[in-house]
Point group: C2
Chain length 231, copies 2
DNA sequence: GTCTATAACGAGATAGAC
DNA sequence: GTCTATCTCGTTATAGAC
């Protein structure tokens, strides 16, 4: 009984994975807006109605792909942080940024799914919020370490942003000073600006040595969140 | 004779504009990937083949929309710069950044067309390159002014990026020091990172006072390109 | 010459009967 | 699950109105 249950579960997992793999393949040449359950089914030799046993709608399949992508890029960031060991916060920052960029360049279509244009007619459910924040949490932890260590220098928060900065710090990083939480939020968006421009081709005929360029820019972002340069 | 020619020209211009307007409307609820010549024609009471008198293909229509969008955001930046008069470079920088952001927030779908995910199966022709650089040119001119004025402070360029920075400066801003050209390119991408996160909803439930947040972040970008803070 | 309309192609999606 | 009839699409050829 439980062996049967186990085999069934295993088959279900495998088929679910196959569906997502095929859907990811179609993301590449059709785009998320044109993801079609029927086409996925056809390519897998199934009939479209069979897919509904695994994903109740196209939107649910999309959500699964989005969650997977956020998880994958988040894991990449976490692994890079773990691999950076006891390096200085500034060095860990650059390592993590570079790893995130590497993931994006290797999987441009999955990157576009989570950081590109919203899919028309689709609104992300709450289930995507957690996975979506994993990269940010890694960045927060690095800056948090720095605040318990070397010390950090940041310009003061202007009066109009005092309450915003307080709220931000309270919600995302209670152990960070408000000025750092504010700077971190901006740096987070700016990091993905660099990656997006590269992945989406805006640097074509502009930046040639993109590895070095990115590392330098990520280093600059470390400045903006107050991570001290190694003496 | 020339009056007839004039009337024809006028009609042609009007219809071309109507086609683009309708296409833009469809961008909003269908997305660029699903822009349909037939649907545009139908909505305009024309037959699809008639559209080919105005746009030789669907991709050419897309290109026209992209060029229009780049031109519009570029003109917005140029107008903001002109309106900023003789203010300090740092203040002009923030003004231009804010104007660009304002355009993007007012026209999220056109923004997505030019700074969002690439349209599958479409490759932008060379004609988009010029309009695409107008915002960057405005930013370059501001920093250029600062270099002829107050003076600027930037960290030195690392050895690996020396030639990249030299080439960048030579190509985009011959009157700027290489370090500034490098920093400007990064700030350019980072600026659109901030805007993209806001337009695409990544700041939802994260940043609440987005006006003040953006102004502060744009101010930080001014730092990163070496514009001096007003004493 | 400039335009619009009709009709058609090949490909693909979709809805429903079976 | 399968089949079919009916939709969509981009694009082209062609004919005729102004």
């Amino acid at each position: 009984m439980s062996a049967v249950r186990g085999a069934r579960e295993r088959a279900r997992t495998e088929i679910t994975a196959a569906i997502k793999d095929e859907a990811r393949r179609q993301l590449a040449d059709q785009g998320a807006a044109n993801l079609s359950l029927r086409a996925v089914a056809r390519e897998l030799g199934m009939v479209s109605s069979a897919l509904y046993r695994y994903f109740p709608s196209r939107d649910e399949l999309l959500t699964a792909l989005i969650v997977d992508a956020y998880d994958a890029i988040g894991e990449t960031a976490e692994a890079a942080l773990a691999g950076a060991g006891r390096a200085a916060p500034r060095s860990r920052w650059v390592t993590v940024c570079t790893a995130v960029r590497g993931w994006a360049l290797a999987r441009p279509h999955e990157y576009a799914l989570i950081y590109g244009s919203p899919v028309p007619g689709y609104t992300a459910p709450g289930a995507t919020v957690g996975p979506a924040s994993r990269v940010a949490l890694v960045l927060i932890s690095i800056v948090g370490d720095a605040y318990r260590g070397d010390g950090v220098a940041l310009p003061p928060v202007p009066a109009v942003l005092r309450s915003e900065a307080d709220r931000l710090a309270a919600e995302i990083a209670p152990d960070l000073p408000p000025a750092a939480a504010l700077a971190l939020t901006a740096a987070w968006a700016q990091l993905f600006g660099l990656i997006t421009f590269e992945v989406f081709g805006q640097f074509k005929q502009v930046v040639t040595d993109r590895d070095a360029f990115f590392e330098r820019a990520a280093d600059g972002l470390a400045d903006s969140v107050g991570l001290l340069r190694r003496e």
